[in-house]
Subunit: 334 residues, 2 copies
């Protein structure tokens, strides 16, 4: 068996994991190499283990890595990888499933915060609105989840956790997935028409689909026009799934519609908390600063799973979570 040259380019990988990887490969850590040695190693590297895309891997450097065949990400999404520059033979693996528990819980935290109007009523009290009667209108807008319909767009690990929690709250669950899926008590739908009817029939919708060239701006003016007047849209996927301008306009015109997100739009290839519109001035917008991921990282599971999958590759087995490269043409740096 060929002994691979694996370059670990993430500080998240600890020394015990490096020891495991060394049983099947020559393992180098970019953080331990000087510039010249790193340049040499890069040319010999056939496997990469990364979290966010390393700034040192410019398009030029990447093109010089003729032996590269495998990239394993520690993040769940791979939309930050410059696929257009990667040689055709490079297999890219996401870390799907590694964040499902934490991100799924976070999605429900956002959903309930918006459903119970926690953020805007808290802030109204803080700003000195101290008459209970003034909140009667808000109370009418509170969504009781039991008996309502939850639409889940994307049924990977996170979508499955969200669907399960929705069932626990006594919700009917509809899941949109392009591949055939099964899940207890979940109604699955497929195709563009199904997306529209899911949006029209749901009291709450959670976006749990990867950002690809098929899903960018999946939710725009047309989709908002079919959604329920007082629906809640939760995004724990990527900001760019939603059209920013259309969302702002929709929130401004429909105070009962709510958007709650942990993810933000890309600007010049990077996710940023600076938005094109003053979303945080709207009472029907809730935004947390992409904090669901780090919580998962802290559990150690993402690194463990990424290492397991890398070991699969190093040992000549078929790795899991190989992404369809044709769906990722964009160059985004996380």
């Amino acid at each position: 068996m060929v002994r691979h040259n694996l370059l670990v380019m993430s500080d998240l990988v600890g020394s015990s994991e490096v020891r495991r990887l060394r049983r099947f490969a020559n393992v180098y850590r970019s953080s331990e190499l000087d510039e010249k040695t790193l340049a040499d190693r890069l040319r010999q590297t056939d496997a990469l283990l990364i979290s966010s895309w390393p700034e040192i891997l410019t398009d030029e450097t990447l093109r010089s890595m003729k032996r590269l065949r495998f990239i394993q990400g520690i993040l769940v999404g791979v939309d930050h990888i410059p696929f257009q520059t990667l040689g055709r033979k490079v297999v890219v693996c996401s870390n799907a499933g590694a964040y499902s528990l934490e991100v799924g819980e976070h999605a429900f935290g956002l959903l309930l915060s918006a459903a119970k109007r926690v953020v805007d009523t808290h802030n109204s009290v803080a700003r000195g609105k101290t008459d209970f009667k003034e909140f009667r209108g808000t109370a009418e807008d509170i969504l009781v989840l039991r008996g309502k319909t939850l639409g889940v767009i994307g049924y990977g690990g996170i979508g499955a956790v969200v669907a399960g929690l929705g069932r626990s709250f006594g919700m009917k669950v509809i899941a949109f997935s392009r591949s055939r899926r099964s899940g207890r008590g979940v109604k699955f739908v497929r195709g563009r028409g199904a997306l529209t009817s899911l949006l029209a029939g749901s009291d709450a919708v959670v976006l749990a689909i990867p950002l690809t060239n098929l899903t960018e701006r999946l939710i725009g003016a047309k989709e908002f026009s079919v959604a329920r007047r007082n629906a809640i849209l939760v995004n724990i996927s990527r900001g760019d799934i939603v059209d920013q301008a259309a969302l702002y306009e929709h929130l401004r015109r429909n105070p009962s519609f709510r958007y709650a997100t942990d993810v933000w739009w890309y600007k010049e290839g990077r996710e940023t908390l600076v938005t094109d519109y003053p979303f945080t001035s709207l009472p029907n917008f809730v935004g947390t600063p992409h904090i669901s991921g780090p919580t998962a990282v802290a559990s150690g599971r993402p690194v463990r799973m990424a290492v397991e999958n890398t070991l699969r590759y190093l040992r000549g087995l078929r790795p899991k979570n190989v992404v369809k490269r044709s769906e990722y043409y964009r160059s985004i740096v996380l």
Copy 2:
């Protein structure tokens, strides 16, 4: 069978419910009577159906209602009823269970908002903190519910809903209840020592116990001192279960400890959003303005259940939810 004289003193009760009640009693509505007629009726009234305590029922008026034998509340709590003035023969019934679903969901909304630090991170972004890196410390404070321990203090209808949701999130659930209870997957504890160990062993605690002379300031400096450093305390019961000064001091000194509430302290006998300490200036305080109750009222269930129980009394059956009067000595107006 004696035909009762029932006085309905709540606008929440609709005409169809009044028709049902008329089959078993002479029913009058205070809103339809002039002052003099009302005064006459009050003297003849043996049963009252109320929501918040009617201002017209002063201690003097109440003492003149010699025939009064039964009071049914539409609110879940009865701590606003002036028990010390009521004749000994008056049976008082709470509306326990009528709000369980909505208030239980709200409790989880508050718990997740605090667990995922939704309010304070949202507000930090709104105030212009736009560097993801600045939130790394906060992310470390995020509580993942799965595998953690939820303590539920009070296991009535709301406590049972909260415990069930906790189980759905994969939490271990301990419930403190003074009466013997059973619930699937819930460990029950009793007695003052048990309260201390519940607080010491829980990552999140939900207060779902009525406010009585036994529970007022149940949670004070001593209880905070045994609680986990980064625990979350949720209150959907009554503000006065918690010692306000001790809470403020604890939150100020322990930024990882969180308090999330829908209920506020009494001042001059009324719940008020004006607090003695600047709670809303603390990032580890989340407060909604008692909005879980109105949501339940909107479902129609509280009125329906209160009417059902009143019918039970009118028909000579034993009513449900008779409260132990000895535990309510206070005079609080909601």
